[in-house]
Amino acid sequence: MAELSKNGEAADATPNVTEVETVDAATEAEAVAAIEAPVGRGEPILQVRNLVKHFPLTQGILFKKQVGAVKAVDGVSFDLYQGETLGIVGESGCGKSTVAKLLMTLERATAGEVFYKGQDITKLSGRALKAVRRNIQMVFQDPYTSLNPRMTVGDIIGEPFDIHPEVAPKGDRRRKVQELLDVVGLNPEYINRYPHQFSGGQRQRIGIARGLALNPEIIICDEPVSALDVSVQAQVINLMEKLQDEFNLSYVFIAHDLSIVRHISDRVGVMYLGKMAEIGTDTQIYDHPTHPYTQALLSAVPVPDPEAREGRERIILTGDVPSPANPPSGCRFRTRCWKAEEKCSTEVPLLAIPERFQGQDTPAAHESACHFAEEKDVIHAA
């Protein structure tokens, strides 16, 4: 029986150990200088190109033989512009969180590039990688496991300063931590408390304060509010929007809650089975979706108005998501798509502006990976 290689996974999870490539000092210094240079507003700060992550499936105990791979992320490309929020949505298991880990270099990409200010961070190591980590930070999904239960809040938020001592001189750290607590709306006197003494929303604020400590440019948010109550979700989201304005942050916001993503995002990407299905501005995606998967996803959003609900068409998908270890040929969505034809099983649709919309000035003219892309307004349909 094939099982997911624990060893392979563990080896991937500790990139620092396995790094053998040596970068000579001059190129490293060059990379660090490039990373520290500022980027103007509206310019791309992160460019992801054909990012691939395959987890090997191995057989055998002593002599491991690779029998296949879970294609968690299989060729994802997008840009993140300075100061914007890019939402990434998709159902469970579509590779959203793996994308987040790859952007953080917590996992090493199998192939593809992630350019941060022109530097491919998937190839960096040592001092240059540490400099990148200062500028790209993460907010985790579960506020109950993302804070070390044996450290005080002061130690948790102060840890970034221990790792990057150049950011704050030693005597200044306590004050900095208290400032950060204040910024995220927590009482600075809580500095000596332990995480279990806080509610979920407060813990998530602590996680955000830790992410902000190094004054990063990009924050990757991996489902930052899905573990929180709805009322607390709103507080955390509003806090994040406020911080974005204050510190000029760029967010990659990963979630499965479509309404929250629409609320916070400037642009939205829809993922299905390790590939990007459609990407565009929030209006383009929500009001003018052209990919059948996006349309199905949006038609499942609950509508609070019973009158509007009556006439609404619901697209019910049949079947389950195929296994990422053995994805369908051609278009990944074809097994559940009502538009699927012969062409879909042979030709992989590229993520591009569909031919029929090319050169037109309509909101439907955005990148969509479908051979038969056509506009369908599922939210307002009556």
Partner: protein
């Protein structure tokens, strides 16, 4: 900047710790168990870590108190046996062999005419020394090897796992008979060495498992995302969170090492006379169990109480450190 509203989270959040404190107010006992929330502080006025929570639970657990007192007593008499036994365990008078209880000699005499009370008291030192030193060795070796294997994974981990499989396949008593029968030393060290050799795989598995569990926690990923070094992640984040199961298993194992020492001595491959040990006394008394049962019962009783105390202590510590039972 707008006026900060610090308590908004706690006030709105239905699951806020503030609410937990209010609930706990109605039951005096659980107020103690609920660490101070953001709104109110704990009874001591300062925050408690999980360790101090566990200590707090342990202090009111009668099983813990009794076993801890027994262990404390054992440790005291193994350091200063003359506190409660004035005689010499090697001062024997064959004329008194197998005699029962007498004034000044409450436990009677053994087959060599030695005072059983004095020998039982002096025997504690060997048992406690073997138990504590073997446990320390096993815990250090096992948790370092297992912890590193769990953290780094890969080939080293696979290699170590196979090695532990090999050691698990060796029956302890048979291994003892084979390995210790060739040793002629009269000290406790060969026995301790043997226990460490056969005991570390158990601890290493526990340590490996709990390190792998701790490693997958988001706070370790967060530390890595901040650029933390491996040693920082291991020492600051993983070790403190992976230590609890190791401590619990080691405490329970301590009891079994003491009984293993007695077993090996009984079989004649452990400690050898003139070392004073419960196992040796049980072994030599076993032939006379019908004529003079007191010779067997006192050292065997002391052994049973000691092992029970360590196992119960381990049990109590495990319960206190398990947040799910809280």
């Amino acid at each position: 900047m707008p006026e900060p509203n610090y308590d908004e989270g706690a006030a709105i959040a239905p699951t806020g710790a503030g609410g937990a404190v209010d609930l706990a107010m109605s039951e005096g006992e659980s107020l103690e168990k609920t660490p101070g929330g953001p709104l109110g502080t704990g009874p001591a006025g300062k925050p408690r870590s999980l360790w101090s929570d566990a200590w707090h639970d342990l202090r009111r657990n009668p099983v813990f108190i009794v076993s801890a007192l027994v262990i404390l007593f054992l440790v005291l008499i193994s350091i200063w046996p003359s506190l409660i036994a004035s005689g010499d365990p090697l001062d024997c008078d064959l004329a008194k062999a197998q005699e029962g209880s007498q004034p000044g000699h409450p436990f009677g005499f053994n087959g060599q005419g030695c005072d059983v009370y004095t020998r039982t008291v002096y025997g504690a030192r060997t048992s406690v020394a073997v138990g504590v030193l073997a446990t320390l060795g096993v815990a250090v070796l096992g948790s370092v090897l297992g912890g590193l294997a769990g953290f780094f994974g890969g080939g080293w981990d696979g290699f170590l796992s196979r090695i532990t499989d090999v050691f698990f396949a060796i029956p302890v008593v048979l291994g003892g008979l084979v390995l210790l029968s060739v040793v002629t030393s009269n000290t406790v060290w060969p026995v301790i060495g043997f226990m460490v050799l056969l005991g570390w795989p158990q601890l290493s598995r526990i340590a490996r498992g709990s390190v792998i569990t701790a490693k997958q926690n988001d706070y370790v990923q967060a530390a890595r995302a901040l650029g933390a070094s491996n040693s920082r992640m291991l020492l600051r984040h993983i070790a403190p969170n992976a230590l609890a199961p190791v401590i619990v298993v080691a405490t329970i194992a301590l009891g079994t090492y003491i009984s293993l020492e007695a077993t090996l001595s009984f079989l004649g491959v452990g400690l050898k006379p003139p070392t004073v040990s419960w196992g040796i006394d049980i072994s030599s008394a076993s032939q006379y169990i019908r004529n003079a049962p007191h010779m067997l019962l006192w050292p065997a009783g002391a052994l049973a109480v000691t092992v029970l105390a360590f196992i119960m202590l381990g049990d109590a510590v495990r319960d206190a450190l398990d947040p799910k039972l809280r």
